[in-house]
């Protein structure tokens, strides 16, 4: 997960390198640290360094890390020959290395040789049963073969051991959402909010899932979490502001005729609408009219 500033920084560097302004190594390091998936760029710029003997030797021991990074990027781009070459270089330098063994197994996976890859991962796990990356590869393989329930099973097993892996919880939640298993997705986001209560992304995702589940109680809780997202983001999150409006409208629809929630709820909706209008006026004036008619259709509840 990346912050806006980090993403801006990476994009700036990427632009610079793409246009011949240098900085390829800094870019590759940043992508590696932030764990971004920009395989086509990594492949292109990584290879430009590796294929140039002068640049390569100036890296020193980091050369091998770059080979590893480029190998993985090559596999992601289905350039399996490039990946094989990188792995060969690493094998020569580090014979009998488990880390290189992992790359070999990943190459089998990239080729689609699922059975061999599974065997390779199993044997690697025997020697190192706590290797998180390999555990997760199993779930990835299931997902790649279209076996979503298998992917879920592997991820759940993984999370029983490594319950602090936020990325895994997020991946699981996203798989659940794609299968419309919203209750299970909600559970994942609850875990994430418990362990990282000040991360607005989780509050927002949780609210979205609750809204999708529907029902009065879920909508009311969703509204609370949209509100907490707004709180955590200083009122800048468009999705949360719109979420408030949607929730208020839907709650109004469901409670028509019963006792209303009181002025408090319409105040919140008004504030959210005002914040949205202000933002659109400033940053997206061409869309202001559309926003206003959207808000109007959401206020027509009572």
């Amino acid at each position: 997960m990346v912050s806006k500033t980090e993403e801006a920084q990476v994009n700036r560097l990427e632009n610079q390198v793409d246009n011949g302004g240098g900085g390829a190594w800094e870019y590759l390091c940043l992508v590696r640290t932030l764990k971004l998936r920009r395989s086509d760029k990594v492949l292109k710029h990584g290879l430009s360094i590796l294929n140039d003997p002068k640049k390569r030797s100036s890296l020193g021991p980091d050369e091998w890390t770059l080979y590893e990074q480029v190998a993985i990027a090559a596999m992601d781009c289905q350039c399996l020959d490039v990946a094989k070459d990188c792995i060969k270089v690493l094998q020569k330098r580090f014979p009998d290395s488990k880390r290189v063994g992992k790359l070999e197994a990943m190459l089998l996976e990239a080729k689609g040789s699922w059975v061999e890859a599974e065997k390779a991962y199993t044997s690697l796990l025997e020697d190192n049963p706590l290797d998180q990356v390999i555990h997760k590869r199993r779930s990835a393989m299931a997902k790649a073969q279209g076996n979503t329930s298998g992917a879920i099973e592997w991820l759940n097993k993984y999370l029983e051991i490594f319950m602090a892996d936020h990325d895994a919880w997020r991946e699981l939640a996203e798989i659940y959402v794609s299968l419309q298993m919203y209750k299970q997705a909600a559970f994942c986001y609850e875990e994430l909010i418990l362990s990282q209560p000040t991360t607005p992304l989780y509050h927002l995702a949780y609210a979205d899932v609750l809204y999708t589940l529907g029902g009065l109680e879920n909508l009311q809780t969703a509204k609370k979490y949209y509100a907490s997202t707004i709180d955590l983001t200083g009122g800048k999150n468009t999705r949360a502001l719109l979420g408030i409006c949607l929730c208020t409208f839907s709650i109004g629809e469901l409670t028509k005729g019963r006792n209303k929630e009181g002025k408090e709820s319409s105040d919140l909706q008004c504030l959210a609408a005002a914040a949205l209008e202000k933002d659109y006026k400033q940053r997206a004036p061409t869309k202001l009219a559309l926003l206003n008619s959207t808000l109007k259709s959401l206020k027509l509840s009572s």
Partner: protein, 231 residues
């Protein structure tokens, strides 16, 4: 029924769809198709004149979809165009199934436009595009097959348009059927050289410029109408 209508997609609508999918190679993407029904009763054609890329993450969530549909209907309604279909590209290369989320959105659109089509990106065809001189669209067309739902159960969703009740067919997998793939003329592209233009855009990495509704919600200064895309 489903087989009677022809579908014609304009170049811009078609290219936006493919570029959207290419921008987000590692996730599923979706969008809506805008257009109108034209031609007399003797030769009805659904003209798809434009498309709006919607999302590339967490496609199964309602709030962004509801907001998007309100705004899209408002904007295009003023131009006399309807939402006539939905497009979807799967996350995996060899996945040719229409998932449940896509079917649900398709069902929803179908209720307002009975000739609605769901277009699914054909990844294999897209991959083969640079090789051949294929003029047919790199899309599978999926149409509603069974118009009268056999068994129904109600499912409550605070979906704005459906106003708290939505009906699904129990046998969902039978309700959308693939038609018109591989050579059939069910779906044609209006401009015959569209694939050539598309290849050109692909080689110039034009997909980087496409904005979808997700991008807009993350940064409202980005315009989901993509007014500058083809200029």
């Amino acid at each position: 029924m489903g087989g009677e209508f022809r579908y014609q997609i304009g170049q811009n609508a078609y290219i936006k769809f493919v570029l959207h999918a290419l921008k987000h190679k590692t996730s599923a993407v979706n969008g809506v198709l805008l257009g109108r029904l034209s031609g007399a009763d003797t030769n009805p054609v659904v003209e798809i004149t434009d498309s709006v890329p919607l999302f590339h993450s967490q496609i199964g969530l309602l709030p962004p979809l509801e907001i998007a549909l309100i705004q899209i209907e408002e904007y295009y309604g003023a131009q006399g165009l309807n939402i006539v279909g939905y497009y979807h590209a799967n996350e995996r290369f060899d996945d040719f199934e229409l998932g449940n989320v896509a079917k649900n959105v398709g069902d929803h659109i179908y209720r307002y436009f009975p000739q609605a089509a769901v277009l699914l990106l054909d990844n294999k065809k897209l991959g083969a595009l640079p090789n051949g001189k294929d003029r047919s669209p790199v899309i599978q067309v999926i149409l509603i097959w069974d118009r009268t739902p056999k068994t129904m159960f109600s499912y409550t969703l605070p979906f704005l348009h459906a106003k708290a009740t939505k009906l699904y067919t129990r046998e969902m997998s039978k309700s959308w059927k693939v038609v018109g793939s591989d050579g059939s003329s069910q779906l044609t592209i209006k401009e015959p050289s569209a694939n050539i233009v598309l290849l050109d855009y692909i080689s110039s990495e034009k997909w980087q410029d496409i904005i979808d509704f997700d991008d807009h919600l993350d940064d409202i200064s980005k315009d989901w109408l993509n007014p500058e895309l083809f200029k």
